[in-house]
């Protein structure tokens, strides 16, 4: 009975999703064989157009992973090549094969490396195992995209999402957006870093940070992987504080590494930790937000707010964003692209603010040119901190591209 014996030891692995409600993904069912080469059984929405290329790609991926004999059944809902590669690799790896090998998709050109103090008004969350949202995310022009491996990915799919996010970092053009990844808590997060760091993400979000030591662990891992894989670009860190203890340690955490460029907080977990309800007014998180804003500024990193959960309520989002800016935050998260433009509006200086600041800056430059120590506007003397604030505001407005045509938010009248 050699055949039966063979099937009883055959290793099988599955990955991905298919079905009527699924788009741009595929389901892969992989089974190792002892002989007979590679047999691809493909059912695809796009068989007519790309069927041959999909079969060829699957064979190439398997060869790269060192698989010579296998039966692989695919149901494809119009997935793009980087998704196909990730799902096939995930299915193979789930059998224990292909360890230590990667079938990387063709890389697109990376945007310019990310500056420490770049604009981070909006960061668009992309669930890490939902490929359909990836390809056009950059078109909506958020300041950053977050490929999320943590809360939006079920525990059983962490290994699969990790490969998809890795491939997306290589193969998807996110435009000018900063490419962020939210990893899982350690130790799972270490496995994320091993796949992610070699693809030069611009920033890693570290969830549920409560102590500076936790940051140090991540820094150690990032630096050793980056060195091993010759990553020359900066990889910044943004700790997320999501507990009462994390909030209390905000300043120490913000100072834990030079790689930290921003501090943010997660209000779902924080309110759960406090055992209070999360309200749209946010009174229960006022202290936490103020604490984070203050700690971030004390540590000279950006203070970044949480997300606004009601996608349909654009008025509420605008109000939240404006209040957030008033508290000292420089940006917040988005869970739908329609929030991006509203957030950018909320965090832009108003026309009158900008006008005033430009006057002060002009007076300051005038004083500098004349070697005067005192800046005055008309008959009024301007205090040094006021000058500093004006300089900061004008510099930010230049980054936002709002200098020539000051954003008038419009909602004020």
């Amino acid at each position: 009975m050699p055949a039966a014996a063979e099937t009883s030891v055959a290793r099988r692995g599955e990955a991905g999703r298919a079905g009527l409600d699924v788009r741009s993904d595929l389901h892969v069912s992989f089974e190792e064989r002892a002989s007979g080469g590679i047999n691809v059984d493909l059912r695809s929405r796009v068989d007519l157009y790309y069927g041959e290329r999909i079969r060829q790609q699957v064979r190439d991926v398997l060869r790269t992973l060192g698989v010579e004999h296998a039966h692989i059944a695919i149901i494809d809902e119009g997935a793009l090549p980087f998704v196909i590669a990730a799902r096939v690799e995930a299915a193979v790896r789930r059998t224990g094969l292909g360890q230590g090998m990667s079938a990387l998709p063709e890389a697109v050109a990376l945007p310019a490396p990310s500056a420490r103090d770049r604009l981070r008004r909006s960061r668009l969350y992309l669930p890490g195992n939902e490929p359909k949202y990836f390809i056009n995310a950059g078109l909506h022009a958020p300041d950053a995209v977050i490929l999320d491996l943590e809360d939006s990915v079920p525990f059983a799919e962490k290994d699969v999402a990790r490969l998809l996010v890795r491939n997306a970092l290589r193969a998807v053009d996110f435009g000018a957006a900063e490419r962020m990844v939210r990893i899982n808590q350690l130790p799972l997060g270490l496995a994320d870093l091993a796949e992610i760091v070699p693809q030069s993400p611009d920033l890693i979000l570290i969830p549920k940070v409560e102590t500076p030591d936790q940051v140090s662990d991540i820094v150690g891992a990032v630096e050793s992987i980056a060195k091993r894989s010759n990553v020359g670009r900066p990889i910044w860190l943004m700790p997320i504080l999501e507990s009462a203890l994390g909030i209390e340690n905000a300043f120490a955490i913000a100072k834990a590494s030079d790689r930290i460029v921003a501090l943010t907080l997660g209000l779902e977990d924080y309110t759960a930790d406090l055992g209070v309800a999360k309200t749209s007014g946010g009174v229960e998180s006022l202290y936490a937000r103020m604490r984070v804003a203050n700690a971030a500024h004390a540590a000279h990193v950006q203070a970044i707010d949480s997300v606004y959960g009601d996608v349909a309520d654009s008025e509420g989002l605008l109000r939240w964003g404006e209040a957030s800016r008033a508290m000292g935050f420089e940006g917040m998260g988005c869970i739908h692209p329609i929030q991006i433009e509203i957030i950018h509006r909320a965090f832009a200086p108003t026309a009158s603010e900008l006008e005033k600041a430009m006057e002060i800056v002009a007076a300051y430059e005038d004083a500098q040119a004349h070697g005067l120590g005192v800046v005055s506007l008309g008959s009024k003397m301007i205090d040094a901190p006021v000058v500093q604030r004006a300089l900061k505001l004008v510099a930010r407005a230049k980054q936002m591209g709002t200098m020539i045509d000051p954003v008038t938010s419009g909602e004020e009248s």
């Binding site: 788009r23 741009s24 059912r43 695809s44 929405r45 796009v46 068989d47 007519l48 157009y49 790309y50 069927g51 041959e52 290329r53 790609q57 149901i75 809902e77 119009g78 997935a79 793009l80 090549p81 390809i135 056009n136 078109l139 909506h140 996608v311 739908h336 692209p337 329609i338 419009g410």
Partner: protein, 535 residues
Amino acid sequence: MSTSVATGLVTNAVGRRVPTTVNGRESVPYQGIGGYRPTGHKAGSSIRSNSDYPTNGDKRVPNLETALRLCGLRDGMTISNHHHLRNGDLVALAALQTAARMGAKDLVWFPSASFPCHEPVIELMKSGAVHHIEGSMNGPLGDYCSHGHMRGLGVLRSHGGRWQAVQDGEVHIDIAVIAAPAADYFGNADGSHGKSACGSLGFALADSVYADRVIAVTDNLVPFPCIPWQIQGNNVDYVVEVDSIGDPSMIVSGTTQLTRSPDRLRIAELVARFLRDSGIMRDGFSFQAGAGGIALAFVDYLARMMKEANVKASFVRGGSTKYLVDLLNDGLIGYILDGQTFDLDAVRSIASDPRHVPTSPFTSYNFHGKGNFASMVDACVLGATEVDVHFNANVVTHSDGRLLHGIGGWQNCLFAGCTILAVPSFRDRIPVIVDEVTTITGPNELIDVIATERGIAINPKRQDLLDAVQGKGLPIRSIEEIKAEVEKICGGKPAKPRLLDNPVAVVKWVDGTVLDTVWQVVDDNPYAPKVNGGE
């Protein structure tokens, strides 16, 4: 089964091979925009006299079978129906199935559009009762035709082209069966009242005038006079009362929902910005908008921009929804010229607001009319299944060659001052922007702008539009550039479908000439997504 109903293939003015004979009649190959000007006199229905009808005006008969018998139902006749009840329609099937039960053979079905609910017509074609369909085919009907099973050649016409074909005698309707949400015993009929209310009955208007015999079927008999009489009783032979003409839940949607798709919203916003920044959006302008996802969202964005700029539109043509009705009530538009009424808010509005006017393909689209509303609007936003680098567009077939969707008013609307096709650049890895569209439904002279999520391409023939939006911050790109980007994302150019050299349908241009041919498909992909197009 093969069709020998198309003969004498020639190459027409857009370089497509088309038959010179369609279902035994000579047909004229497409000759360019405005290139074909038929002369002579319009066709008409046979002469009737009022002395043949009851002097008390009561034209009711007990059932459809009686009406069809009195109309002289015979083999080979052309029976027409209309799609104002959309996917809820029960009347077309009842008419054809009754005719089949009465033993009629080889009927030609001439619907203004077919919907998935009309799938049982396949059985009538298999049994021989129906010979072929001249009208839109999609879903199972489209597959049946695409595989060459239909005995005659499918003829796809625009709403305006249908009127043209009736007026110049290309199609003679023997019996028109009109579903009426309200009717009196004389045959006056209206669509805006009753449990099956659907709004405008404009699609049935030509048939009521030009068919030899007209039957009004209603589930809401009202006392004489039925007002307003969108269909005049003077054109109606018989009135049949039934329990139900349709499923109200499928006739109009309760409320129309705006799309949440980020990519569709982005395209819609780009289109609105294009109209604003090109200067087309100005006081007194007009536009056409449908009820598709992008078109609806476009109206929402445009309305906000109109408010900001304090601009009002003189009129809007289109499929009406809650969103257009809101604009009317907010004073942002002067009138809605309604071709099709899509939701309950719009039905209520057309029934009560004199500024919300039902129109027909005659007023809006007909080639033989002395002008068209559709060509008078400043801008029009439409969809497409494929567009090519030459700015030709396809709306009737899928990229695999299968019939997918009817033409509807799409071709007629291309005559707007600025025609914008709002499409995603690819769907499920299938590029929408291609080298050559599978089936030309709209020629490039009339397609001005293609708006995708990856940028806006302007037809090089419209230098004026290119100039108007220069420096306005819109993502204006060449169509070739967008196509190249999409092919890179999708992993290369898609393979072309294998098609047999056997025509299964023709696409008519608005003037009745043959614009392109739909060929028999070979491959059947059981895993291809099911499509349920409309119109």
